[in-house]
Every structure is written in structure tokens, then in C-alpha cells.
Amino acid sequence: MHLTRLALTDFRSYAELSIELGPGVTTFSGPNGEGKTNLVEAISYLATLGSHRVATDAPLVRRGAQRAVLRALVTATRGSSLLEIELNPGRANRARLNRAPLPRPRDILGALRTVLFAPEDLALVKGDPAERRRFLDDLLAATAPRYAGVRADYERVLRQRTSLLKSAGAKSTLRGPAREAVTATLDAWDAQLARVGAQLLAGRVRLITALRPHVAAAYEAVRGGPVSAAGSVLRMCYRSTVADPGSDHGPDDQIPGLEAAMLKALAGIRDSELDRGICLVGPHRDELDLSIGGLPARGYASHGESWALALAFRLASFELLRQTREDPVLILDDVFAELDAGRRERLAALVVGAEQVLVTAAVPADVPGILEGAQFDVHGGLVRRAA
């Protein structure tokens, strides 16, 4: 699929913007702070209903404006569709698809699919476990929109259960009827947490199994040359707080088994949970362990290695998504500046065949020559097609 038009109203620095796009490579260049990333963020928001830069919608609306509107025309093999999202900070956002209002904004997910490479991706390797969980869940929702619902449900059950644990204070010392009253309510929420958590867990495990060969291949391709030497073997392993971490591939992906394992883990840790007032087991505490040559990537990998690995994750996402359906739109936000010449060329060669590639760069010379195509100048809040 590819974007044929993007129109923004009061989004970030843009009061009003409308640009026409086509398949192939399009490069947006201009000095820092002129609005290149804002364009990328808008496109990515239409695909994921979230920003890769901020957690809330308020900063996305231009200062002084009440709401922002994002519109995109997407051409896919099934035909073209018009996506519209209205951001209303503090109130419900609204989404329309082909001018028909959608009951829930998340129903728009899947109409536009993107894979975004951004400087923030470094956190995939160097950041907290939460970054890697978010990567997995975002990709899961992109492969099967059902998981957007599973994830939202899980977060809600988690909030309810945490609230219950907190309201009690330290209760592991309770005995008799008072304890029974607390544990009976907790049992009911444990059942919900295990039911929804098992679905999320199974989804993640399946995703990692499918992703593993793609990540390995992409990592090798970005680094240039085989990574057969023992010092550079990449391993990724899902470490769950729920299931037995003994096996090489982490827990299996069978929902009933995972649900039972989760209930068992919850029962085993109840006293500590009551004492600390937080949920200690479940997919929200899991980690995707990454290691290079036997050493944890987080902490040991150099800046260059970390970048190569982060790129490999994005490339693998792209490969995975294009395997089942048509190409997602590929967006490279300011990534070439971080790479040496060899890696720039190799990355460019890997992505040049995609249906649509959108590139931003402060210095046009950083973009390898094979990524030639349409050019836009982004300057002073205006986006103009370069002559």
C-alpha cells in the first residue's frame, strides 16, 4: 500500500498542510526543527493511533488550537481509502473511514500500515524492558488488529487489580474472615488477568518465533557479512514471569496452558503482591532478552551494534508484515545520519524495493544515491516539492 495524499490541520507546527505523494522513494529534507519529524509522526499516528514521541495527544495539537485533524488517502490493492482522525485532547478522539464515522477509533487500525525507523529506536536495545514489550505489542496489533483489544483489556484488568491491591494496604498479615474477603475479590480478578494475559502471552510468543529468523537475517545484512563468529551471535529469548524460563524458546503458545500457569504463578506470589500493592507477574513484567555473543545487548553492545540491532528489528517487522499482506509504508526518520557509509548503503539496498519509502534527512547528502525519487523541501512550516 502507499499514501497518495496527506492533509493536516493544526497538527504540531502545521496550521494547514496538504501534500501529494506517490509510490517509490520520497525524501523530505530541511534544517533541524522545521517540521520533518512532525510529518512522519502524523503518518505514524494514522497507522497506530499513537505517537512514537509522546504518550498523550495534547502536544500533537498546534498551540492555541482546540483540535487537530489528520487525513490520508491510502491506495492499496483492494482500492483506495480515506482515513480521517480528529484529535480532541481531554475528550474522545474521532475517526472516520471513507467518510463513515467509526464507533471506536481503533477500528481504523489496519487501514494504513507503516513501519517506522526513528532515532528513538535505540531504546529498543538500550532502554527499559517496557520498550521491548511495547515493540512486541505494537507489532502484534499490526499483524492482527484483534490484539489491540486484547492489550487494552489487559491494561484495564491490570489497573483494576492494582487498585484492589493498593486499596488494601499491606494485607499479607491478615488472617481469618478479613483475609478471605480480600482474597475472594482478588480471585475474581486473577481469573480475568489470567484469561486476558494468556492471550497476550500466546500472541507474543508466536510473534517472537516468527520474528526470530527475520531479525537474524536483517542483523547480518545491516552489519555486512555473516555473523558466524561466536563473538557476534545474536540471541533473542522471551523471559516470562509466568511460565518456566528453562526452555530455550521460552514458554509455548498454548492459551489454556498459559492461563493455568498464570493462575499458578499468581497464587504463589499472592503474599508479596498484597504486601507491595502491585501486580508482580504477568506479561506486563516480562522481558525480551537480547544478547550478542553471549553478552546482554543492553549495557554491553556498543552504540553502533545497538543501532544495527534496532534497525534489524524494524527491518524484520517490515519483512513479517509484507509476508502475509501487501507492503506497509516504510518510513525512515533521520536514520542515515547515525550510520557509517557502508551501513547506509546496505540499509538503502534493503529498503529500496518497498512499495513506498518515505525518508527524512537534515543533510540530503546523507541519503544514499540509490534512494532517488521525489524530493520535498521542509522549511519554515512549508513543505514544497523541490524542482
Binding site: R146, R159, S167, A181, D187, Q192
Partner: protein
């Protein structure tokens, strides 16, 4: 902003569910322009409802006496109780016209975020109704969302030692609808609960 009593009316109307500031203003001016007798009837109905309607001491449904008309009706089956969250859910189930049992209104669902635990719901009253052994089946018809499911799970565990038949209405596809318009969660549930076609 308007003066005194009119603004007062607009403010009060605006506090109603589903009525925004513009809607409140529209209703207020409609009432000002309407026939006085009509408005008086509305005002009387509002006063009457606050004075006369209370909650059934047995089931918690809305009632005009100590007990609601369903609890008072001797033709209703006393062996089956359908547990719902709100009085409006009673009205919804009554639309089937085939359910002949009685009801129990909880007054909400367990939701720790909102500070609602089992003690805030009419669960003790339900347990009292179950003690004499008349009731043999409990239908847990709480909402099919996370809080409703948790409430049903809680109740199911609570009454388990009593040896009742405990059921929960099925989740699935709306009758007369198109498969393609069902959302993925509903469809997923419907597939989970699929039945063997015995022919």
C-alpha cells in the same frame, strides 16, 4: 450565560446523562415556549418519581411499594434468580417475556478503580435469599465486559459450596446480523462457544 432561573434550569438539565450544554439550552427554551399544562405534567412526574419510587427490599429493582411487582407476583418461578447490575437490565431481560424467574439487582459491578467492592453491592442480600434452599438456579447476567465478568466470577465462587446450578448467558453473534459486521472480539467469543449441529 442567562439570568437567574433560566440559567439554573439549563445547568440542571446539563447535568443529565446524554445532555450537553447546547442540548440543555434547547430543552430549556422548548419548555419556556411549551404549553404550561404540558410542562406542569413533566414537573409533576419528576416530583412523583422522587417521592414514590424506591428500591425493592428483596431484589433491589425499582418499586412503588416495599417490594417490586415481580417479587410480589406469585406466578413467577421462585427457584430461578437472574442476577443483573442495574434496574434497567431487569427491563431488558423482561423483554424476552419468557423468563419466568425472579431478579436480583446488584447495583453495579465490582470495580476497584471506582472503589466498588463486594460490600458496596447487594451481595449480602443475595446470599440471604439463597439460604432457605428454594432457589436452584442462579443466572449471572452481569454485563459482558471486564468488570461484569469479574463480578460473575466472584459470585460463582461465592455460591459454589451451595451446590446451585450457576449459569451465564452466552456471548455471541447478534441474531439477524451479518457475520462480516461483527467485531473481532465478539466473533472470537462466538467461535469459542460454537455448538455441534446435531442432524
Amino acid at each position: 450565560m442567562y439570568e437567574g432561573v433560566i440559567q439554573n434550569l439549563i445547568d440542571e438539565l446539563g447535568r443529565l446523562p446524554g445532555v450537553g450544554p447546547k442540548g440543555a439550552q434547547r430543552i430549556a427554551f422548548h419548555l419556556l415556549a411549551a404549553d404550561q399544562a404540558d410542562v406542569k405534567r413533566l414537573a409533576d412526574a419528576l416530583i412523583e418519581v422522587t417521592e414514590r419510587v424506591r428500591f425493592c427490599r428483596t431484589c433491589g429493582n425499582v418499586a412503588e411499594a416495599e417490594e417490586c411487582r415481580i417479587c410480589l407476583d406469585p406466578r413467577r418461578d421462585p427457584t430461578v434468580i437472574c442476577v443483573v447490575e442495574e434496574p434497567k437490565d431487569v427491563a431488558a431481560v423482561e423483554k424476552i417475556r419468557e423468563f419466568r424467574g425472579r431478579y436480583h439487582v446488584l447495583g453495579g459491578a465490582i470495580s476497584p478503580i471506582d472503589g466498588v467492592g463486594p460490600d458496596e453491592l447487594r451481595i449480602k442480600e443475595l446470599m440471604t435469599r439463597l439460604t432457605d434452599g428454594t432457589v436452584t438456579e442462579l443466572i449471572l447476567a452481569t454485563d459482558p465486559n471486564l468488570e461484569g465478568e469479574a463480578t460473575a466470577a466472584y459470585l460463582a465462587r461465592l455460591v459454589k459450596p451451595m451446590g446451585l446450578r450457576v449459569t451465564r448467558p452466552a456471548s455471541g453473534l447478534p441474531v439477524g446480523g451479518d457475520l462480516e459486521y461483527a467485531d473481532e472480539v465478539t466473533l472470537g467469543r462466538a467461535f469459542e462457544g460454537r455448538r455441534l449441529l446435531d442432524v
